[in-house]
Amino acid sequence: MNALEIKALSKSFRSNFLYKKTSILKNVDINVNKGSIYGFLGLNGAGKTTTIKCILGLTRPDHGTIRLFGKETGKASDRASIGFLPESPYYYDYLNAKETLALSGKLSSLSNEKIKERTAKIISLVGLDGKEDLLLKKFSKGMLQRVGLAQALINDPDLIILDEPFSGLDPIGRKELRDIILSLKAEGKTIFFSSHILQDMELIVDDIGILMNGKITKEGKLKDLVKKTIKHPVDYSLEDLFLKEIKK
């Protein structure tokens, strides 16, 4: 069973009342295997964030279906199995990290005991030990990214969606995030993430999907795709594959 299955997803936006609609997603098909790490690639404006918003119900698709663990989504309760880290995370700067996690847990219907237990574990996992009582307005972008990841994991989700999780992180932070993603995979979680930082993606993904102009142009196992696309894949890289794809 796929953790996430998107079929013929289309979405268009009207930028102005008088202007015609602009198509953002055109029949997008995505299959994310359970327990895998899926890298979602695309240039700026390709429609990656719109796809993620459709999965989360923040935006309504015009057509298409989205299935989570075999079940078609549509209700708020379907998001109980998802953890989401938005791009450039925005949180309540008058709360501290602990309060943010408590709010996140309550919104996911966790009991106070469970919130306490998960908070202690996650604070340590994302490296926020000793900072949990600081107000978020005093946090750097990298620290906020850690809080973002922590709130996404509070409900122990089966599917973790990360929108540009490496942006704003220093090399050490990126390495730590890669390790966290791999440890989540080891726990049997499915991770779906978009990123511009191909080097990081290449090191951890199992499968990739390339979104170009609202369409998935390539999807599958990273190594298979690189072998098929690059003639001499001795020193193949995801960057080569991606550049070849966008030049088409």
């Binding site: 998001r79 008058y94 709360l95 709010l103 919104l107």
Partner: protein
């Protein structure tokens, strides 16, 4: 539980904002200044003191309701913190209801502080406690809940500046709309009559909650008026919240 979590977070945000305390301070300060005004005027000083004091509390509580109400919902959308809430298993209905209840709690606390301080002030000056102040509290609180629901409605689809203008205009209309009730009986043309009825029932009749005059003059207020005013308030708030939920459900982020 989710509505409660959103409501408490909204309350926390409001009370951690310095403007909230500033407006409460001014409300208390101006109600105290009524003593000064009463000394400068001829007549029953206690009545003037109450009149000016209640008017100050009214003005500043309305300002808190309008500006807190508009900012808190709009900021969620503008600063994208709404993604944090709506990416969880939370119904959009719960978001609007949580925001409303959080703001209601904020207003309850602000009003309790202002009215308690003013009541103690009156008690010290006159040596008596007027129990009708509790009725004033209930009526003003209901009016504030209507204003909050209207500010949530506007801020769910509009910018803070426009929402402020719309809410203030509606607040002002709300205090003169009762004239349409008198007016509609004098109209003969059915179209004009329908129009007058429509306008009267569309806008909130906030004068239903204005009992300052009766309180200052010690005029009795019948149970019928109390119950009908509160029922009207509950009905109007419910209708506005239902419209807000409907608009917010259709909104895309």
């Amino acid at each position: 539980m989710k509505i409660r979590a959103i409501a408490l977070n909204t309350f926390k945000e409001a009370v951690r904002n310095k403007i909230f305390y500033l407006l409460i301070f001014f409300g208390v300060f101006f109600s105290f200044s009524s003593k000064l005004i009463s000394m400068l005027t001829i007549g029953d000083t206690l009545k003037i003191l109450k009149d000016v004091g209640f008017a100050s509390i009214n003005l500043f509580s309305v300002l808190i309701a309008i500006f807190t109400g508009i900012n808190l919902v709009y900021k969620e959308i503008e600063k994208k913190t709404v993604y944090f809430i709506l990416s969880k298993p939370v119904e959009r209905r719960d978001f609007i209801l949580g925001k409303f209840l959080g703001l209601a709690l904020t207003m309850f606390v602000a009003l309790t502080i202002m009215i308690s301080v003013f009541s103690i002030f009156i008690l010290l000056l006159s040596g008596t406690f007027d129990p009708f102040i509790l009725l004033y509290f209930i009526f003003l609180f209901t009016e504030l809940l209507i204003i909050i629901s209207i500010s949530i409605l506007f801020s769910s689809f509009s910018t803070p500046i426009l929402s402020s203008i719309f809410t203030i205009v509606l607040y002002l209309i709300g205090h003169v709309i009762w004239t349409f009730n008198e007016f509609k009986y004098k109209l003969i043309n059915p179209i004009e009559k329908f129009f007058a009825y429509f306008i009267y029932y569309l806008f909130p009749n906030l004068e239903k909650f204005n009992i300052k005059g009766a309180l200052v003059m010690n005029d009795p207020i019948s149970i019928k008026i109390i119950l009908s005013s509160l029922a009207y308030g509950i009905f109007y708030i419910s209708a506005i919240l239902l419209i807000s939920i409907h608009i917010f459900k259709r909104r895309e982020f």
